[in-house]
């Protein structure tokens, strides 16, 4: 543009170019058409740069991951969005909470849909996080160097359970009240500190206004904050630990040939004269120089399309569920009239079923052992073999122990859900 151009036409040109300019100021790259642009697009976009520029083909195999981690994350996003919208209507007060539920169901725009989406996403997230945990265990992905990320994952699973549990009380109906009464009673079976934990959770000796307020604060502030932070750590560690796990033979062998003039390094080389790029610090086989053959593809579009697809499927499923099934809302709380049987949320019914055999072992002993085994798995199972394969024969023992625990728990959940009637007596559902 020459300075001779009249100011008026320059302004017009600016005006004409406004949409384009705004667009380009936001998105630095056009839709990529070559590898350089693909890399650049991934690298310069805030939301995309959390991904690697190139991703291993094994990570994209649907039957390897089933997208479970992503589904869990997307459900969390749905939960945050619907949860925040619900917060505009909810009052954590024993006198108002139930009325607010009725309003949400009756007269708030999209109230029923929001509540349904939040409810089913919450249940779905518990299930998906657990399945994700199973996937990671059964493919041996917790092994070196991903030990700590596994520990973070187990903590995320426990947080998810707690998150769902605290949300369970908020509708303040009979279902909520008695499920939390039972759930906190299970915590009370812990030795020494059990009763104190129970008291701390409920803010009293029974579920009441204090408990409702505590569960609300935990549910909408404390736990989401911790969960978000832990998820961030979880994702960050995936990158730093070299991406998703994969079998040893998924990468072509690289043999490092000795450099020709290999000799004792000169003192000047060791002096801090050279500036190193960050690549020098990144561990793992992704750091390669030159034309080394590998099994990676560009994230744009392979990974991003897969993620988008997972998101669309997740959202569709939740929307369909929310249209077909209404979130339950039972009678207003009546502390003097427990339903028989009073049941905990379904994911704790395995615990409740075990509690019916032995209060301590069912409610505290067995779950604690299971969680400790989960947390300790990568440090106890140090064998490097069997990573990246489902049900690898090298990991027969670990997988067998794990599956035994999981199947036992699932059986207990099924018994507790369908086969238990009044007074926790065995009943046939048909």
């Amino acid at each position: 543009m020459s300075p001779a151009t009249p100011p008026k036409s320059s302004f017009l040109a600016a005006l004409m170019g406004l949409p384009r300019n705004v667009w380009h100021s936001i998105f630095r790259n056009p839709l990529p058409s070559n590898d350089l642009e693909r890399s650049s697009t991934s690298f310069t976009n805030f939301f995309l740069h959390i991904h690697p520029v190139k991703v291993h083909k094994n990570s994209l195999r649907p039957t390897y991951t089933f997208g479970l981690g992503l589904i869990s994350f997307f459900l969390f996003v749905i939960l945050i969005v619907t949860g925040i919208l619900l917060m505009f209507y909810y009052v954590p007060s024993t006198t108002q909470a139930y009325d607010r539920m009725l309003d949400l169901r009756g007269s708030v725009a999209f109230g029923t849909l929001l509540r349904n989406m939040h409810r089913w996403s919450a249940h779905g997230m518990v299930a998906m996080v657990f399945l994700h945990l199973c996937r990671v265990f059964l493919t041996g992905s917790y092994k070196k160097p991903r030990e700590f990320n596994w520990v973070v994952g187990v903590i995320l699973f426990l947080l998810t359970l707690f998150m769902s549990f605290t949300g369970y009380l908020l509708p303040w109906d009979q279902l909520a009240f008695w499920a939390i009464t039972v759930g906190t009673a299970i915590a009370g079976y812990a030795p020494i500190v059990g009763k104190d934990i129970q008291f701390l959770l409920m803010g009293g000796t029974s579920v009441g206004q204090e408990a409702l307020l505590r569960f609300y604060v935990l549910h909408v502030a404390v736990l989401p904050a911790i969960l978000t932070l832990m998820i961030a750590i979880h994702f960050w560690r995936i990158r730093k630990d070299g991406g998703l796990s994969r079998p040893e033979d998924a990468d072509p062998k690289i043999t490092l040939e000795p450099m020709e003039s290999a000799g004792a390094p000169k003192a000047s080389v060791l002096e801090p004269k050279k500036v190193y790029g960050f690549q020098g610090l990144v561990r793992g086989p992704l750091t390669k120089v030159g034309q080394v053959p590998d099994n990676t593809v560009f994230s744009w579009p392979n990974l991003f399309l897969a993620e988008l697809f997972t998101f669309v499927v997740t959202l569709s499923a939740i929307l369909i569920l929310s249209l077909l099934f209404n979130a339950p809302l039972e009678e207003p709380v009546n502390a003097l009239h427990p339903p028989n049987p009073a049941k905990a949320p379904w994911y704790f019914l395995g615990l409740q079923e075990m509690v019916s055999y032995s209060a301590f072992w069912g409610g505290i002993g067995v779950p604690t052992i299971f969680v400790l085994l989960l947390l300790g798995a990568p440090y106890l199972d140090r064998g490097p073999k069997g990573v990246g394969k489902w049900f690898s024969r090298d990991r027969l023992l670990a997988n067998t122990i794990f599956i035994t625990f999981v199947v036992a728990n699932i059986i207990f959940v099924i018994i507790g859900t369908f086969f238990r009637g009044a007074n926790w007596a065995f009943v046939s559902p048909w």
């Binding site: 009725l102 009756g106 849909l113 039972e330 009678e331």
Partner: protein
């Protein structure tokens, strides 16, 4: 992949379309449009038409704060014509609420004016239902979780099919009228009044407590039963108690459907506290026990001497005695047979038992009913005339006619009414017990009864031979083991230890150390071990029983134990003097009451 993505995205769009359609095209909006259109065609002035043309659908609501907790009633969102008198002939929901002079509505200059204005009363105060809901199903309380479906209009899907049709009808709303109109015999709440009369007439009050009305303790407290339960449950608990709770001991009363309905409406009106009561009124009722209301409700029968028997019979039948007892064809299946009452009890005993059942039978569960003395006397006069049918000579026939109700078909003491008797009927299959007692004692138990228990004296009905015949039947059918020669036992005829403070004190110490585990520290038979024992340990505070047995028998039971029961022999551990102290202690706690359950023993 791209195709799948496209399909998925399309799917989400479709779902959103459905959601938005549901959100913006509500049933209630269509109702309101229909109302505006109809009202416009009925409008008389242009101004009115113009206003109606400008009206847009919106959620109407009435906030009601005068009746208990604040209610938000959005019923008029759909029932938008409720207060528009032009719509009386239209179909619901566009129908005006009926005007009724009986409800206090008045006509002024040809215009009705409501006594119960919607702006003050809302809708749910009278109708129940869920005021906040906007979908008919939820608003009417048709979903199974809503505790107050529209009274008399909405039945929930899970209600029993044979009850549900009976639970419809506007008269059920009287339960809610009674929340404010608490006057005795208020004409608008006839069913509540009738139900309250039935509550007393059918003797419900004997077992149930209702604050300010009654104080029975056998059944559940019904003070706020109307707040806790829905109509179908109330109906079911009265019409078929065991169908709702298999272990219920509530009798099935011989009530017609209209009577059950009145009781259900009365019970539905019991909500703990109603809108009309003030704190001070409640306190007053607490002090007086609601005497005023009770007096107004109970209608005593004037007894005249000439017709005393007839009136007595009518009372026995009307006052639901046969809801528990057996009399002729009627059988409540809970309490003993009254068919031979005149032969096994005398007038004094029956009258005393009426006045205070526990005075003649310490562990009786029969409630004390609030009848007048005259009524009790008439009922007594009638009962002593009952002689039953003559019994056959065969042991089996006698057992089936007289014994089976308590001792059971198998003679094991688990008869149909056994669980309501205390002490529990004797298990006749225990040969240890049956064969360790001399025949004379068994005959005496049959003919003279066992004092302080439900075993009546059959002496006037059974001769000695008949008593032996039934015992013979029991021996061969239930006990089975043949009788053996009894070994003589060394038992003092009379207590060798003189009654005195020291002896009683020693006896008490011994009792607490050795006997309290089963018989309890108080000797009432409720020691910590008693739960696992059948027959239950003897209640040694049952004076009628204790005073009816002589020292010799107490000595024998303690020294040699009671075979066939959990009572062990103590002969190796205590001396005769110790037993003497124990007997003195047991006698000392039974000295107040005199007499017994029975008429003078038959000679």
């Amino acid at each position: 992949m791209r195709l799948a993505l496209a399909i998925g995205t399309f799917f989400i769009l479709v779902i959103h379309g459905v959601v938005f359609y549901n959100q913006f095209f509500h049933q209630w909006e269509r109702n309101q449009h229909a109302y505006f259109d109809q009202a416009r065609s009925l409008a008389k002035t242009d101004a009115e038409r113009a206003t109606l043309a400008n009206r847009r659908p919106r959620i109407e609501q009435i906030v009601v704060s005068n009746f208990g907790e604040t209610r938000v009633d959005r019923c008029t969102t759909c029932h938008i014509a409720a207060d528009d008198p032009r719509f009386t002939t239209y179909a619901e929901p566009l129908k005006s609420h009926p005007y009724s002079a009986a409800m206090g509505d008045v006509q002024k200059n040809g215009k009705w004016e409501r006594r119960h204005k919607f702006s003050e009363f809302g809708c749910t105060v009278c109708h129940d239902g869920q005021g906040r809901g906007l979908e008919p199903e939820y608003a009417h309380g048709a979903d199974e979780y809503w505790p107050d479906p529209l009274l008399g209009y909405t039945t929930q899907a899970h209600w029993r099919k044979d009850f549900a049709p009976k639970l419809k009808g506007r008269e059920y709303m009287q339960a809610n009228c009674a929340q404010c109109h608490t006057d005795i015999a208020f004409p608008g709440t006839a069913l509540v009044t009738k139900g309250r009369e039935l509550f007393f007439g059918s003797n419900c009050y004997g077992c149930h407590r209702i604050e300010g009305l009654s104080d029975g303790t056998i059944g559940p407290d019904l003070s706020d039963v109307g707040k806790k339960w829905k109509l179908d449950y109330l109906w079911g608990r009265i019409a078929d108690p065991k169908s709702i709770l298999a272990t219920s001991i509530m009798p099935r009363f011989n009530l017609k459907d209209e009577e059950i309905k009145a009781l259900v409406v009365f019970l539905k009106s019991r909500k703990g506290r109603n809108f009309a009561e003030t704190e001070i009124q409640r306190f007053k009722v607490k002090l007086t026990g609601g005497a005023e209301l009770v007096q107004a409700t109970i209608k005593p029968v004037q007894i005249n001497a000439a017709e005393i028997l007839k009136q007595g019979e009518k009372l026995v039948l009307d006052r639901a005695c046969t809801a528990c007892h057996k009399l002729g064809d009627r059988d409540g299946g809970i309490a003993p047979d009254l068919s031979q009452e005149g032969l096994i009890k005398d007038a004094a005993w029956i009258y005393d038992h009426f006045k205070n059942p526990k005075a003649t039978m310490p562990d009786s569960i029969m409630p004390a009913f609030r009848f007048t003395d005259d009524e009790f006397k008439a009922m007594t006069a009638y009962l002593v005339t009952l002689k039953g049918a003559p019994v056959t000579a065969s042991g089996e026939g006698i057992y089936k006619a007289l014994c089976l109700r308590c001792h059971g078909e198998k003679g094991d003491g688990h008869g149909p009414i056994a669980e309501h008797l205390d002490p529990y009927p004797r298990d006749l299959t225990k040969d240890g017990f049956m064969n360790s007692k001399p025949e004379a004692r068994l005959v005496s138990s049959v003919r003279n009864g066992v004092a302080g228990t439900s075993m009546p004296a059959w002496g006037k009905l059974l001769s000695e031979e008949q008593a032996k015949a039934v015992l013979g039947y029991i021996q061969t059918t239930f006990t089975k083991e043949p009788r053996r020669e009894l070994k003589p036992r060394a038992v003092p005829e009379k207590n060798p230890v003189a009654m005195g403070k020291d002896s009683v004190a020693r006896g008490e110490e011994l009792f607490v150390n050795r006997c309290a585990g089963c018989h309890g520290k108080k000797g009432d038979g409720k020691g910590p071990n008693s739960l696992d024992i059948l027959p239950k340990p003897r209640n040694l505070r049952n004076s009628f029983f204790v005073n009816s047995v002589d020292d010799k028998r107490l000595f024998e039971s303690i020294l040699y134990g009671v075979q066939g029961t959990a009572m062990p022999p103590w002969i190796d551990q205590v001396s005769n003097n110790d037993v003497g102290d124990l007997v003195n202690f047991i006698r000392s706690i039974n000295q107040k009451e005199k007499g017994g359950q029975h008429a003078a023993p038959v000679q």
